[in-house]
Amino acid sequence: MEVRVNGVARSVAAGATVAELLAVLELPASGIAVAVDGEVCTRASHERTVLAPGADVEILTAVQGG
């Protein structure tokens, strides 16, 4: 199925969780934050949050700024 990750369409296994998506993207679980459809998905819920087809996922981290 397709989801959007940081605005880019991406194919993931049907029923994939946020934790599985992060693993595929080789991202660490710490130092980043995930929002699914505009809501924060906390680290504790990465494993149990199943992505729906077309889900809009934003993955953010700290960069230079301010």
């Binding site: 940081n6 929002a35 924060v40 700024g65 301010g66």
Partner: protein
Amino acid sequence: MDDPLVIAGREYSSRLITGTGGATNLAVLERALVASGTELTTVALRRVDADGGTGVLDLLRRLGIDPLPNTAGCRTAAEAVLTARLAREALGTDWVKLEVVADDRTLLPEPVELLDAASTLVADGFTVLPYTNDDPVLALRLEETGCVAVMPLGSPIGTGLGIRNPHNIELIVARAGVPVILDAGIGTASDAALAMELGCDAVLLATSVTRATDPERMAAAMRHAVTAGRLARSAGRVPQRFWAHASSPPR
């Protein structure tokens, strides 16, 4: 020895808060941060694939500098609240430099959305440091909302125009019950010194250091300027006079 700067119960011996934006690379940034003596530094939150990498957090950790995530780029209270919540998740801190700007040309704070976001975030347990206009009334409203500091601008972000309305800054200082941090518009060391002479508790700056020809040297200048301005404020300056007043005895 000077009193420490106390924000929401946390003590800092440095009264200079820096940003990390604008430095050409992390090595330049590191030298500037060390020279500034800062203990609290802002970072922005962006998509993981955006330019800038993720090394800035590791750098701050190594230098023992607290990160202060900002909500730069947000135009509405809803955007700022979501960004603050994501920052809390990514950085494990409930401190946030709250920025809600009205438009790209001025980057001036949008006061209605700012107050709304501050209220929501305070209720959600955040430690909120709002970037605000040099408006004494809005500063009071933000404090009443539960913000732990108020951060009025000297002039718009990145302009280096210094403090355009010193009297408003003094009015904010005169009535504030929380630390006042002069944020934005600092161009050079004398601007930072003036902020402290006006009674501000600290100065927050980024561009004036990171985009200076020699960021490390300018960071050192800012460190001294903040210390000098603080000393001058507490020393009690002489009154300004219209006519000369001889400093040598008449005979």
